[in-house]
């Protein structure tokens, strides 16, 4: 009986004051959506940023375990992987399914001659080297296929010195064997590649007479969860005879940067949480304050203080729940939009922002509503009704 009366009171209040309820719910939702957005971003952006930082290029180099490449004075004395490259690459391909690898590119270096000039020749998989080094700039086209044998990409500085242009023939000689490539593009990296000639791995192996051999594998890996050293150790464990060198330059800088940015986003989320809590509290308090007369009337009609408190608490709780759900959902959506606009792709859904949104909605709204209710309820009904 009592419960039914109580429910009727709440329901009446709902139907009679739809506009005010909606305003209150919207106000709560507004604050809560911010909490949900910033928390989702704080939790999910790390992986996104880590991915964006992969534009810096390979962060792990796989070299023969016995000693690094280029040990001797000439690249002809350079150390090669003991195993045949195909085996190694197949095994790496298997491993890459379980490890967070963005890409990997095998490289074979050889010294070649162009007329009377000596140049360094690099054989690689054109699609893979591009994936590992997304910021290299290409004028012209990339080599289309890993099996391509006649296309070459000289570095920009080399092309300038030898006056090579796209479409020009490029005869390369190694130990008396000459093959004429044609230039499909000119590569500019600002690094040593500017002075080298890039061809497919197969073309380099055939021309240098080193079928199935490799000097080096560039690997670009995400350190998201387990850390770069763990990825390097996993690669070494899976590939016998291979040493995985983590590039301290990239790994350390990335770790530091990501730690800072996570802290930044976390602080912003905290700031937003506090601000939203205050805003929601102020909104609720204001909307209860304007009902002081109603409270007075209820008391004058014989309602106990607890009764009045319960009614308002239930109302505020409902407003908080509705606002929390609405705002939480809107916040998730907003976070996805921001992540997609700025970094591409989505941020993962996690439970914390949702729980926090609903929590902020319900708790803050009820608590904030309760304080003015208590004040109103403890006042003299006659005074309140007179409008004092």
């Amino acid at each position: 009986m009592r419960v039914r009366f109580f429910l009727r009171l709440v329901q009446r209040s709902l139907t009679h004051r739809v506009g005010k309820w909606l305003t209150a719910i919207l106000a709560v939702a507004m604050g809560v959506s911010l909490v949900s957005t910033s928390l989702t971003l704080a939790l999910g952006m790390r992986a996104k940023m880590s991915q964006a930082l992969r534009a810096y290029g390979a962060n792990i180099l796989l070299v023969p375990a016995a000693g690094p490449a280029a040990a001797g004075g000439a690249p002809d004395g350079a150390q090669l992987f003991a195993s045949v490259s195909e085996d190694l690459l197949v095994r790496l391909g298997d491993l890459s399914r379980d490890l967070p690898l963005v890409g990997y590119a095998p490289l074979l270096y050889a010294m070649a001659e162009i007329g009377s000039h000596r140049v360094a020749l690099v054989g690689t998989w054109p699609d893979a080297i591009r994936q590992v080094n997304p910021s290299w700039r290409m004028e012209g086209e990339w080599i289309t296929d890993r099996a391509e044998l006649a296309e070459a990409i000289p570095g920009s500085s080399l092309a300038q010195k030898l006056a090579l242009t796209v479409g020009a023939p490029l005869p390369l000689t190694i130990q008396g064997r000459t093959r004429t490539f044609h230039v499909v593009g000119i590569l500019s990296t600002g690094g040593s590649e500017d002075e080298q000639v890039l061809v497919t791995l197969r073309a380099a192996q055939e021309l240098a007479g080193r079928a199935g051999q490799l000097n080096l594998i560039q690997v670009s890996a995400l350190a998201a969860d387990r850390g770069m050293e763990a990825v390097a150790r996993a690669l070494e464990a899976g590939l016998p005879g291979v040493a995985a060198r983590t590039q301290l330059r990239l790994v350390e800088a990335e770790e530091r940067l990501l730690a800072r940015l996570s802290l930044l986003l976390g602080l912003i989320a905290g700031l937003v949480l506090v601000a939203s809590t205050l805003t929601v509290a102020a909104d609720m308090a204001t909307s209860v304050l304007e009902r002081t007369r109603e409270i007075g009337l209820m008391k004058a009609l014989g309602a106990s203080r607890a009764r009045v408190g319960c009614l308002f608490l239930a109302e505020a709780g409902l407003i908080g729940l509705a606002g929390g759900l609405l705002g939480g959902a809107a916040g998730l959506l907003l976070a996805q939009i921001i992540a997609r606009t700025a970094f591409g792709g989505t941020v993962p859904f996690s439970t914390l922002p949702t729980v926090a949104s609903i929590g902020v909605g319900v708790c803050v709204a009820s608590l904030a509503g309760l304080i003015p209710v208590r004040r109103a309820a403890s006042a003299q009904p006659s005074l309140v009704l007179r409008g004092e």
């Binding site: 305003t23 919207l26 507004m30 911010l34 910033s38 971003l41 964006a52 930082l53 534009a55 810096y56 792990i60 490449a69 280029a70 040990a71 001797g72 004075g73 690249p75 270096y109 010294m111 140049v119 360094a120 290299w136 700039r137 500085s157 010195k161 030898l162 500019s188 990296t189 600002g190 690094g191 040593s192 500017d194 002075e195 080096l216 060198r245 590039q247 301290l248 330059r249 800088a253 990335e254 940067l257 800072r260 940015l261 802290l263 930044l264 602080l267 912003i268 700031l271 937003v272 601000a275 308090a285 204001t286 909307s287 304050l289 907003l334 921001i338 992540a339 606009t341 700025a342 970094f343």
Partner: protein, 442 residues
Amino acid sequence: MLPRLLWKSVRGRKSRIALASAAVAVAAALASALLSVALDISEKVGKELRAFGANIVVVPKQDALEVEIGGLRYATAAQAAYLAESDLPKLKTIFWGYNIVGFAPFLSAPVEVGGTQALLVGTWLDREVLLPQGSRKFTFSTGNVREVKSEETSFRTGLKAIAPWWKVEGRWVEDAPAEAMIGSALASRLGAVPGDRVSLRADRTTRAFRIAGIVRTGGPEEDQIFMDLAAAQALLRLPGKVDRVQVSALVKPDDALALRGKRNPQGLPPEEYERWYCSPYIDAVLYQIEEAIPGAKAKAVRQVAEAEGAFLGRLTLTMLLVTAVAMAAAGLGVMATMTTTVLERREEIGLMKAIGAGPGQIARQFLLEAGLCGLVGGAAGAGAGLALARLIGTRVFQAPIVPSPVTVPFVLGLALLVALLGAVLPARRAARLDPVVTLRGG
């Protein structure tokens, strides 16, 4: 009359006005803190990104081909061209000299060590460079003269500054002429440990060095030998010469003007050229380095430069979007609060109308009140926001966020606008109502 009304209203409703102002202040604080962070984050993170390595390499202009494989260079001394070590301080005298945060010269050549060949690299490990004093004047064909003053008299730079990720087992070279550091891979091949002596042979000169430390970087440095530049110059008989300089510069991500200037800066119209020259784009910095150092060619390390630009762009966009969302939500929240505040005074509006106030008068009073809330709350909030941004900056980046001059006026304007908008709509509606109805409390 109006000021008195306003004063009475404010005094009589202190707590309500305070509540509304507080709501405005919270929103304004959030907006100004986020805006400050968003506008400054590019510079702060840009500094952090410098830890990813030098973004500019300066080499001598030469026609000879350079053959480099895995960090080893094969060029014959007869063909090689060099830069003069004495020209290096000029790097800090270019227009954007202040943005050059570090540089290190290198001189390298293959040497024989323990029966194998390895690359010897001479460099500045940690060097104090004296800078030319006074202001520099840059004259443009538009007739403008821009003056750059530098307060720095000396500048500490070298390998330690531009390559902070190096791990040295043992210690860095201290006794410059007699010590060297050796890459970890080379050390394990030679079986060398810190404290050992190695003799290096270059052409006809042989000299013994004590190994101060073993270098680990994960890169080609692990196969090389490092020593002070002067020691390397003496061993290689190339006094005062360097063959490349790595430069770490703070640059601004490329925009439309940067792309127009990329190919041929001189082809830009004079005003645009001046603007291009005076913006810290990577190409402008390269151009200025080539102007300052004779016989030099400056190249951007694409990977570092582009990755940095792209990352900063994305990060700034994220922050701006978060700020926009926060401002929109906070603004709507303030509007809702103001609306509620006005709605609860419908009776008062009715009474005012009943005693003869026109809609204009009523609207004016409410607008003034709302404006007061917006102004007071906005000012307090904007100030608090700047303090918050400062706190975030020192906490995250160990340097305070520098507030942009637009932040405070923008946030204040926004707070005022939102408060007024939130108040004016319900006030107008209330003023149009029949006073009899409102007074009855309907």
